[in-house]
Symmetry: C2
Subunit: 526 residues, 2 copies
Amino acid sequence: MTNWNNLDTLASFKELEAAGRVDLAEVMSGENGAVRVRNYSVPMAAGLTYNFAAKAVDDSILEILKKLAEEQDLIGKFEELYNGAVINTGEKRLVLHQLCRGQLGADVIADGVNKREFYVKQQERIAEFAGKVHRGEIVNEDGEKLTEVVQIGIGGSDLGPRAMYIALENWAKKNNTLKMKASFISNVDPDDAAGVLANVDVRHALFVLVSKSGTTLETLTNESFVKDALKNAGLDAGKHMIAVTSETSPLAKNEGYLDAFFMDDYIGGRYSSTSAVGGAVLTLAFGPEVFARFLAGAAEEDKLAKEKDLCKNAAMLDALIGVYERNVLGYQSTAVLPYSQALSRFPAHLQQLDMESNGKSVNRFGEPVSYPTGPVIFGEPGTNGQHSFYQLLHQGKTIIPMQFIGFRNSQIGTDVVIQGSTSQQKLGANVAAQIIAFACGKDDTNLNKKFDGGRPSSIIIGEQLTPEALGALLAHFENKVMFQGFAWNLNSFDQEGVQLGKVLAKKVLAHETDGALAEYSALLNI
Amino acid sequence: MTNWNNLDTLASFKELEAAGRVDLAEVMSGENGAVRVRNYSVPMAAGLTYNFAAKAVDDSILEILKKLAEEQDLIGKFEELYNGAVINTGEKRLVLHQLCRGQLGADVIADGVNKREFYVKQQERIAEFAGKVHRGEIVNEDGEKLTEVVQIGIGGSDLGPRAMYIALENWAKKNNTLKMKASFISNVDPDDAAGVLANVDVRHALFVLVSKSGTTLETLTNESFVKDALKNAGLDAGKHMIAVTSETSPLAKNEGYLDAFFMDDYIGGRYSSTSAVGGAVLTLAFGPEVFARFLAGAAEEDKLAKEKDLCKNAAMLDALIGVYERNVLGYQSTAVLPYSQALSRFPAHLQQLDMESNGKSVNRFGEPVSYPTGPVIFGEPGTNGQHSFYQLLHQGKTIIPMQFIGFRNSQIGTDVVIQGSTSQQKLGANVAAQIIAFACGKDDTNLNKKFDGGRPSSIIIGEQLTPEALGALLAHFENKVMFQGFAWNLNSFDQEGVQLGKVLAKKVLAHETDGALAEYSALLNI
């Protein structure tokens, strides 16, 4: 059994605070900078590489981070997690999302079943169902194929699956494996459902209702929206809907659905892209083989996260560099900057994954912690961001660490040569240039044109954004967030901070308010 | 002539630093909270209201902010700006975006022309051109109507126009004024153009190439992409393209375009949504009347920004509360949270507007400032964000001020009643509930379920997101950022921080690199 300790009780953390700082602009200059780029590199799954040469660390800092990983027993904690310990102390639950894509340790038996077998069975059921839809064995009222899929969910039932779908849509088109176009309805704003449905051919659409509890208000509201739309089109909702839910939810054995596929309490919403929550829509959209490749990439990456040597474990290293930046260097935010249009919604997914997991002020025992925890995460794809908020990243008063992602090849492969280079080369040249501009800066007698440098970044580089690479990327960040939670001694797997708003919203709708809340409700015509 | 002073030289700023802090949870409780919501409210244009009851200010702080506004002569600076002074000191340019939508002061003559007349003339030329397209007087090779418009631009030529289009697309459909569907190509990633073009009917598409200089590399690359697509479809690019550019750019008199509409050096990209940059695509998409209504809302809001009384000037008040939060309370980020799916990309636009304008470390004279300047801006629509990053906003170690936006009515008007309320009511109830949850918190013996409160927010409330309301919203934030720049003594209208990356990217493409940059280039196969 591992010990769970607050970060600031660790001798290695005190050593980290006392250690000398690295002058990033200096170490990244000249031949030394080239050596760093060659050496500060960790292989990941699916041909990805994590390069941290432009982070403000050196061999001395890395040595202390190694001690910290050992003292905080990060690998021991991960072992407990994947062997089925109750890591989610707040809700008293196991944490099993990695088990959706592979078996990292012992068999995990819960609720009387082998959980790996449970997850695999759901994947098989989904694959079988999707196959019937794709082959035209499950059809609409007129015996016609269902050609579109629409996910109805919010939070983790929306952000992850949506980001993954967008990430692979063009790849799938290019590789002739886009079986069904996917759309997503999430917001309780009625204009969301109405706007999406206006662009959906409901007669040929299959709707996937995703709610673990079967009681998520936004999702049930949007279900009603969709059923109205089906009814108005003279269609039978029972021929157009499936559910992804827990076995105990009211949706599980609902006759109004074609079928139901199951998740459980051991996978939180923000970790559910590789469970049935992502599995249903992604398998319907891309076919079972593509979803299996996505899971394989994640599984391969999970295995690498078991590595005890910090410098061979990209997720753990990324996590601890982040802890150093947050708790010693004092940086509050992190920008996620994929140089890949396909990853346009990946930052929004990471925003939930990270901020909902580690945006906490009490440790796993419910005691207040006195050090900073999870950062603000934001980002947009490059090169677009360069023409937007990079001004502040380069010359603002606040240093924001950055996480770049780049690929050597595009997904579609159509390209043009302008001024002697392809678009893909321009894209890669820009990310390389930005890393150096941020790290090294540039002097100028006109201070308005001076760049201080010293702005740290890492980059994950891959050959192409394939299903395997996407799975590995996803798992990398899930595991990074997990290791950071371990380092900070948090429970990264509950989200009590979302409850109060729900309770008060119910009071507003029941007109049980007074004081300021009653005034705001009146202003909003509730 | 006004004097330009650093914030920390002001007596009122020192007074602000010394003033007592407001206990937000306390003042927002009970009847006092209700009184604050009724009183701390400022009318805006187009029926909008700015309510700042849940900000950590009181009458004493407001008195000091009034002094600060006067001592820093914010209104005098705005007067200089709209009367045509060289406010953009870095590039030695006037700053005239407000002149696109109205005349706030004296005639502004530059380059030998009356600039208001110049902007109006471009609007009229665009309206005339769009009318011909809509009526089928300008047609494709086969004499068929052009039914789609595709904007090619990046940064301010993309984010603002795209956010505005998305904001009004469903409204326009509902009001039968969607003339042409719009799409946007921005990223140099070849998968962006290829992905968008796969969903465009190029035979019936009109492409709008937007580049002030006519030399923006991303945009020229994407132009080439589009021309290839037109050629491959056997079409004549000259019948499918218009340009929005400056009169001196190589694009201005290019025979390869149906027509060219003009912008100038006095409107920065991030302030260009109401210029020809937004005007062309939005007029083509929605018709001239809708674009005129959008401009009217912005113009009405601009007039309110001339008001000297801080408590009647929402933009100036919002700005100074932000300065108080950034420079006295020490908050580094601001979350923009529209409870409106139509505003899904509005935070991305504000991210550029704010961070590119005020993410600076030198004052307008090129001298270093020693105080924090522009914050990190991020956000996603509610209620989605509630199921994502709100955990950190509620219970994280870092306080993030919030800017909510909400409307009493949806745009489309289709709704469902579930559990006794409509979706629109649920949406409004949630934003009201969140404001109180953030401000007041909730005690609990289980600290994991405790909410400290004291998390400040404001809200802009409107009847419906109409073209006028959108124009007013846009102008509010443009003017807020302007006033903050004045308060911080920055030049908010240049962006030297984007230059170094461009220079280094060119070196990479020319293979003129060494050291770390050469290594990164090799890793990315350049």
